[in-house]
Symmetry: C2
Amino acid sequence: MPGYKFTCSSCGWTNDPSPKLLSCGLCESPLDVKYMGDLLPSVLPRGWSGPPIPLPIDRQEDHLTLGEGNTPVVKLQKIYDLIGVELFAKFEFLNPTGSFKDRGTSIMISVLKSMGITELVEDSSGNAGASVSAYSALAGITANIFAPTTAPNPKISQIKVYGAETHLIEGTRADTTEAAVRFASENSLPYASHNLSPFFIEGTKIFAYEVFEQFNGDLPTDVVIPVGNGSLYLGMWKGLVELEKKRLIGTLPKLHCVQAKSVMPIAAAFDGRNWDVADLKATIAGGIAVASPPRLHQVIEVLRKSGGTAITVNEEEISSWHTYLPANEGIYAEPTSAAAFAGAKKLVDSGRINAGARILIPVTGFGLKDSPP
Amino acid sequence: MPGYKFTCSSCGWTNDPSPKLLSCGLCESPLDVKYMGDLLPSVLPRGWSGPPIPLPIDRQEDHLTLGEGNTPVVKLQKIYDLIGVELFAKFEFLNPTGSFKDRGTSIMISVLKSMGITELVEDSSGNAGASVSAYSALAGITANIFAPTTAPNPKISQIKVYGAETHLIEGTRADTTEAAVRFASENSLPYASHNLSPFFIEGTKIFAYEVFEQFNGDLPTDVVIPVGNGSLYLGMWKGLVELEKKRLIGTLPKLHCVQAKSVMPIAAAFDGRNWDVADLKATIAGGIAVASPPRLHQVIEVLRKSGGTAITVNEEEISSWHTYLPANEGIYAEPTSAAAFAGAKKLVDSGRINAGARILIPVTGFGLKDSPP
């Protein structure tokens, strides 16, 4: 018996974990992992010497790792001179497949493999697909990755190189998801969605533990995260809450969301405005172009609880930071990651982040994966 | 006065360091950094808690860092099943610009900047160029990067994205070097060559210190490195020798060189065979396609001293491992890095590495930079 259950993110319904269970049996909301009692993990990330991290993996041999995590934090002096607030970047693009997704995938695939899964389905605009393809290769699991035909070539090529069955879908990002769900259902395969799998956030939450260690407990005051589905955003929060429960931290940072103005369901919901899929426009920030994030209500809840703001940035702002970062800071980020810097500047300019703040931004994906034409 | 000198790698000639001094005043051989006395560094890599590392940087504020180093080591179980010898990979492609070059560049650019350099010249098949371009951006130094027109597009694009003046040169790799040297001379600029600058190896040697820490002093018996110019190979050796002098390690690992059969000056010299630039053929392992490595005699010396072997692999072997690694181990390496795995297998098959060995291979560059067409 595992030391955890699945619990509904809305109504509290609880059930035993299973690879195909992705939504609440009562209200259909997404599920989370809930640990029973004071479970101490037997598995820890490589070289980890911080506080114990509860994980849904009991045996070391079940932990499939490509050395994900342990990414560097770099202080950006020039941006400080530019915006007047101390700013740190955590280089999540230096994960093994080039994006933060590897944190979640490592845990998700490890658990699915230990549950006997040999084939799975996932859909992605690119980064999660490459990540799931890589860890599935390591696990000996057949991965069916669905991606939109509009995903950048390096990302599609990367999904293929790790050996996944790659299904390219015409139409919108939502059409890709629909095709993946249908394929999973028709073939009785688990839909290992990085948006829905409760295991995924158990991996991304390690981000918070690392930040805690790297800042010696003296956390940044504001974390600015590009948010599409919110898997890093919600993982960060879950990790922080666990650390708070252990009384290792006092004041929690404000977690801010940045979205592209072209695809802004979370920012609109935060402001109480209407936003509909029909309002969707094209954006260079493909990693956060998610029109209907299934965990939207959870993201809004964390925005409220942490005192964060959801903000939008336009294409010009994203593009301008996408060019600024490599040419001035030596950071080759994908446009999605550049959006967070644009958002941070707006939050400072508007007074939502004040001069005494210390901002942390995760640089979520490598520019090599989404390079200029 | 810095606590180090430049010393000739052949005749022992010694001189004060200077940004433009790249060869011996007597015999024209390449130079190395030699520390005077028991210099303890005031600068350490981020989070470093191992033995002190002598570095040519005295002041913390002179150390320009993008969080390079601290790369993961992963044990590859499937390859063990395949070749019958324990094998570890160190993911050097998870450095900030996607290759091990960042280790050397960080130190080289830091020193040059502290010496007042504001513009420099470098030539590269791609990885070093991107690395120098990135750290120059951070330093506020104008970089002129010379690269062959045949370099992979993602690498050229990456050099440009960090803002370097990019000079694409038709012809051979040697023509690119020649153009860079001429440009540097005509414009009285320092030629910040990753092959010749004595500072570069001071950065790559940190690789050895990390391996020492990550293996808890119980070093691998054999390290198999893809070698073009040998900057990682010679850095690894320098680090090991420093650790040995401090009596922190006893038996040193054998350092093996892997070259493409198409460009094999070191393997030929090791075997006492003739090899000439005229023998050069095309190879997919662009990172080690160096026909006249300036530090060849140093590489041969380390091969002898460490008991290593220089071996060649053909295009089919490189290509086959380039495909195997992502699809089975989840490691997306560039072809140059795949060559090392092909070489390791040959060394095992031929009995040069025995069944009780523990092999370490640095995965030097990210496959995203040199992806399949």
